[in-house]
């Protein structure tokens, strides 16, 4: 009997060891901007995790720093990092030519933040850079350069015809056979 209990106990410990740590620690759920805005009342005041790319400007203020994190197509959330929370070094921010650092923020979501006059935001309790940004490839399309040259030449020809002396241009029809229209 004692041996059987010991086996069960051993198996239970083994199973617990296999369960991911964050499940046991009850890590805050990873949420998106859409989820937070669509169900803002149910997330209000709760601790959440948010993952996103750091947009262009890291806005440092006297009481903390604002980050704008993009988590998809035309979807971004403002995150306020108070001075008391350690802020990691953000090496890359989003730009036409760069991809910003990806960070995971844990913090309290506010549907209408009292500290920031009703703003929908997250007050961070921790900020971790999970992926470094990089430069973005914006290759030049040779086909478009060719079109630019071809259309440019056509434009020069048309402009030459247009700016010829009016007397030389048969298309000026001030003496049209139809009645002059002045209404």
């Amino acid at each position: 009997m004692k041996r059987r209990i010991a086996v069960y106990l051993g198996m239970t410990i083994l199973l617990l060891a296999l369960v991911p740590g964050h499940v046991l620690a009850q890590e805050p759920p990873l949420v998106t901007t859409t989820e937070l805005v669509e169900h803002s009342a149910s997330w209000d005041g709760k601790t959440v995790s948010f993952r996103g790319e750091v947009l262009e400007d890291v806005l440092a203020r006297s009481d903390g720093t604002w980050l704008n994190l993009s988590d998809g197509n035309n979807s971004a959330m403002g995150v306020f990092v108070p001075r008391t929370v350690s802020m990691p070094v953000i090496s890359w921010t989003e730009d036409y030519r760069t991809i910003g650092d990806t960070v995971v923020v844990t913090g309290v979501f506010h549907r209408a933040c009292a500290d920031h006059q009703g703003e929908t935001d997250i007050h961070a309790t921790s900020v971790v850079v999970v992926a470094q940004g990089s430069t973005k490839d914006n290759p030049i399309h040779p086909g478009r350069v060719v079109w630019l040259i071809v259309l440019g030449l056509a434009l020069v020809v048309v402009m030459w015809f247009y700016y010829r002396k009016p007397g030389e241009d048969p298309s000026v029809r001030g003496d049209s056979q139809e009645p002059r229209i002045r209404r």
């Binding site: 669509e38 704008n68 306020f80 209408a112 703003e119 478009r144 259309l151 434009l155 001030g174 229209i181």
Partner: protein
């Protein structure tokens, strides 16, 4: 009886539309230079290609239809309506080449939204577009606000016999000074002085809010152009939420209000007639309707307990209300917050504000304060007539630059335009509802498009039905040109077909 259409009519329309198209092509030099400054090489090539294409179309049109005849009122109306369509398509080329528009229709939606100073957008991944494209988006609203025709008049067309009619066709029917080119120059002078002041103030505030100095003044210019032109675009998808800055919101609000005022009022104040601000019928109308709709907004927000305190309620509620009433469309809340938090009454308050809109001959849209004032005074005069002895002569007045007598014709024409606006609002809403959107949402979005506001409750997305996109484009176009030019264009097309038929019969 509709008159016959001659070949010369087409030449006049083609020639002036060509000149306006050339103006649009030259305008693209600004975003191209912006791209070069920021070393966005592919974007610069895209703009180069768009410039060449637009100029080619413009010069071809002007060349094949060159004429010495000047436009009459019919031509002017057709030119205004047609040139906005041509400009919409050609201005969409950089959007398509950028890869941020899913289709040409989506790109046209955005350019029409820009030119009409609406502010709705279907652009994908806005947070990653080039500075060149962002400059182009905001420049479209800035130029659209003053009028494409006004731009062409200033730099290309000059004071031809039909120049004033061209401006009327675009809805700028205030005769500030006798010479039409000078009117156009005055409009641009006022706008450019404000551009300089606005960019400087908003740029400094952007730096104070923590932005990089090299970008802050670009953002200052973008936000100014968006506010002054009552456009509503912003460089990032969060719109004004991106800056987390109360001072920037306040300054932006001031420019929204200034931009929504009649150019004639600006000119009167600039030339020393400061008392006009207190007496003008549009200012009186604007003040009354802002107070009424803001009271309704406060009631809605307090009822639902949306904001934790009065300061929060005022910052969010008043900004949204002013943005709606001036038909700007900048936002310091998320689009879906309107539906999920503000509720039907809050949305109704904003919908009413959007429907009424800004002043006549301004950069804004909607019924216009002038028409609201005239209709209200017309009702008051009629009631006074009923209460007066039968022999008494009751005459109403309204003040706009000078004291004007209220005629039945003025009341009637104001009422007709208001009815037409209501009609496009309703038709747009019905199409939205037919696709299954809730009534409040469908009306909100339709009024936003028709009044050229640009606030969204979430309907406007690239995934929305094609017919709804087309409907909103038509609403934006008609709303901005105030119907008559568009109707004249339709009438001209019908008359052209009739003339063609007659010719065939005669042959």
């Amino acid at each position: 009886m509709v008159r016959r259409v001659w070949r010369e009519d087409f030449r006049i329309i083609g020639y002036y539309t060509g000149l306006i198209t050339i103006g649009v092509g030259l305008l693209m030099l600004v975003p191209m230079v912006t791209s070069l400054v920021f070393r966005e090489w592919q974007s610069a090539i895209d703009f180069g290609l768009s410039i060449v294409l637009t100029l080619l179309v413009g010069y071809l049109l002007a060349l094949i239809s060159r004429t010495r005849n000047t436009p009459g009122l019919t031509h002017a109306m057709v030119i205004a309506a047609a040139s906005w369509l041509v400009a919409m398509v050609l201005s969409a080329v950089p959007y398509v080449l950028s890869g941020h528009a899913l289709s040409l229709l989506d790109a046209c939606f955005d350019t029409m939204s820009g030119y009409t100073t609406t502010g709705l957008f279907l652009l994908q991944d806005l947070d990653h577009v080039s500075q060149g494209l962002n400059m182009w988006r905001h420049l479209l609203t800035y130029v659209g606000g003053q009028g494409i025709v006004v731009l062409a008049l200033t730099f290309l067309i000059g004071s031809t016999g039909g120049a004033y009619k061209l401006m009327v066709g675009e809805g700028k029917d205030e005769k500030l000074v006798p010479n039409v080119r000078h009117i156009a120059v005055q409009i641009w002078r006022i706008s450019l002085i404000y551009l300089f002041i606005g960019t400087a103030v908003l740029g400094i505030l952007a730096i104070a809010s923590g932005m990089k100095p090299q970008l802050a003044f670009f953002h200052g210019a973008y936000i100014f152009m968006s506010a002054w032109s009552t456009g509503g675009f912003a460089p990032y998808s969060q719109n004004m939420l991106y800056y987390h800055s109360l001072p920037m919101e306040i300054v932006s609000m001031v420019f929204m209000i200034l931009g929504s005022f009649n150019f004639a009022l600006h000119y009167a104040v600039w030339t020393g007639n400061r008392k006009e601000i207190l007496r003008n019928v549009e200012i009186v109308s604007f003040t009354i309707t802002v107070l009424t709709t803001f009271s309704l907004t406060c009631l809605a927000l307090m009822q639902r307990g949306v904001y934790p305190n009065a300061v929060a309620l005022f910052r969010r509620g008043f900004f949204q209300l002013i943005s709606a009433h001036t038909t700007t469309g900048q936002s310091n809340i998320y689009a879906r917050t309107l539906v999920r938090e503000w509720g039907p009454l809050g949305m109704l308050a904003l919908t009413i504000a959007m429907a009424i809109g800004a002043s006549a001959a301004s950069t804004g849209g909607g019924f216009k304060g002038m028409r609201m004032g005239i209709i209200f005074k017309g009702i008051v005069t009629d009631v006074r007539k009923l209460l007066s002895p039968e022999r008494a002569i009751v005459v109403g007045h309204y003040h706009h630059i000078r004291d004007n007598t209220l005629t039945d014709g003025a009341v009637k024409s104001a009422a007709v335009i208001v009815v037409l606006y209501v009609l496009i609002y309703v038709v747009g809403a019905v199409v939205g509802m037919a696709y299954g959107y809730p009534m409040a949402d469908a009306f909100f979005e339709s009024v936003s498009a028709g009044s050229n506001t640009g606030l969204s409750c979430g309907i406007t997305q690239a995934t929305m039905p094609t017919l709804l996109k087309v409907m909103y484009i038509v609403e934006m176009w008609m709303g901005r040109l105030e119907f008559l030019s568009v109707f004249t264009l339709f009438g001209f097309i019908a008359a052209s077909f009739r003339s063609l038929k007659r010719q065939k019969v005669a042959a």
